[in-house]
Amino acid sequence: MIAIIDYDTGNTRNVKKAMDFLAIPNTLSADPDVISSADGLILPGVGAFGKAVEALKVRGLIPVIQQAAKQGMPILGICLGMQLLFDRSFEFGETAGLGLIPGEVVAIPENLGVKVPHMGWDQNQVTRVDPIANGFDQQSTYFVHSYYVKTRAQYILAESDYGVKIPSIVRHQNVIGMQFHPEKSGRIGLNGLAAFKELVLNGNYSRN
């Protein structure tokens, strides 16, 4: 069972709809017991970083997610959910994130002649071969964000060029992030969710 963390953020139900469409067993939950006994986790997210961290804190979920990650549970963060996986963000002041992948979240520079937010279909360049990024090279996915992740190349599987190189798929061991919305990116996006399911099914993670 894959648990989609339900903490009152915008795209949660659309992520669930996509998982249901793919017939991947999933449940929407904010219950620490359900989350820590899942086979995999999806952390959705839309909106501001600080507010999302607060919403996770109120539900007591930060240590639960951190513990699950430490035990090797596959975790997929989507959009803001990906940004939350990193050490800290500078959106409306500095806020600590989950610290599961080294790096930080900064604003897309406004002086590059591009519109901010980065909203629409943009192309991915795969930079590291990985089953999660399989099929994404030169394919467009749907982005909506004003901040982006700065991290080391070793964690970046794919990026999108928007004046700055925006990491679009990241991975550190069992922890994965997608800056775009796989649940809104047509067939290619659904393939990304299916690749995560494969990792959950075939990975060596066991909660026992």
């Binding site: 469409f21 629409g120 279909w121």
Partner: protein, 252 residues
């Protein structure tokens, strides 16, 4: 670089897709889920659903339709028509819409834009404007209630005001061009793109493939919307994208 978007518009009445010519005569063209899935397959970049009768007859918005479409089709969905309150927006976003478009209600009460943007983010809030050229005043006038009623507002000024209030995108329909099949209203979109810095969707007047080349080559709009040419299969979205690609326009 972001791709220019090609957006089919589905006018929905009682859960069925219709297309009115100049907003009045309706022709039934089918089931929204089936049509949305077909457009996803064709490579549409986004879908716009307009509840065309909602504003005029104050019908509740098409939450069920969106819920069904969003369960089968995984691309950005924008919904407009009959949105009068933040609660209306919330229902549609919760049902699976990614953006909501406000039109007449925002003219009556512009705080609807700012309240929506504050609650859901500016990227969720689309300001839809129906525009008609006023030859006497030499300006574009904003119309409301499905294009039935003129206002005192100048389109360019209203666009600026809407963006200031928090609209993350503008969807502007040229009533002068809508239904004429004579091409998009190039001067209108040149004026709009010069005035604001949010994405603009051009709508109204498309009759042939080259109309898409013209709007993207001659203006800085981000997206172009059409209905009947796609609904009746006169040409397809891949046809449009192939023609745009030839002109060096970035498409998905």
């Amino acid at each position: 670089m972001l791709a220019k978007r090609i957006i089919p518009c589905l006018d929905v009445d009682h859960g069925r897709v219709k297309k009115g010519v100049n907003f009045v005569h309706l022709t039934d063209v089918g089931d929204p889920v089936a049509i949305a899935a077909a457009y996803e397959k064709q490579g549409a970049d986004e879908l716009v659903f307009l509840d065309i009768t909602a504003t005029n007859e104050k019908r509740p918005a098409i939450v069920d339709t969106i819920e069904k479409v969003a369960s089968q089709v995984f691309m950005p969905l924008t919904v407009g028509g009959g949105i009068h309150s933040v609660a209306d927006m919330q229902r549609l976003l919760k049902a699976g819409a990614d953006k909501v478009a406000v039109n007449s209600a925002a003219v009556r009460d512009p705080s609807l834009i700012s309240e929506g943007a504050e609650k859901f983010g500016a990227q969720c809030i689309v300001l839809a404007i129906d525009s008609k050229w006023d030859a006497e005043k030499q300006r574009y006038t904003v119309f409301v209630n499905g294009g039935r009623e003129a206002t005192d507002l100048d389109v360019i000024e209203w666009a600026k005001q809407g963006v200031k209030a928090g609209a993350g995108e503008l969807m502007v329909t040229s009533m002068d061009k809508d239904g004429t099949r004579s091409g998009f209203d190039i001067p209108l979109y040149q004026a709009l793109t010069a005035a604001v810095n949010v994405p603009i969707i051009a709508s109204g007047g498309c009759g042939k493939i080259g109309d898409f080349n013209d709007i993207f080559n001659q203006t800085a709009v981000d997206a172009a919307l059409a209905a009947s040419v796609f609904h009746f299969g006169e040409f397809t979205i891949p046809d449009v994208k192939a023609a745009l690609k030839k002109d060096g326009v970035t498409v998905r």
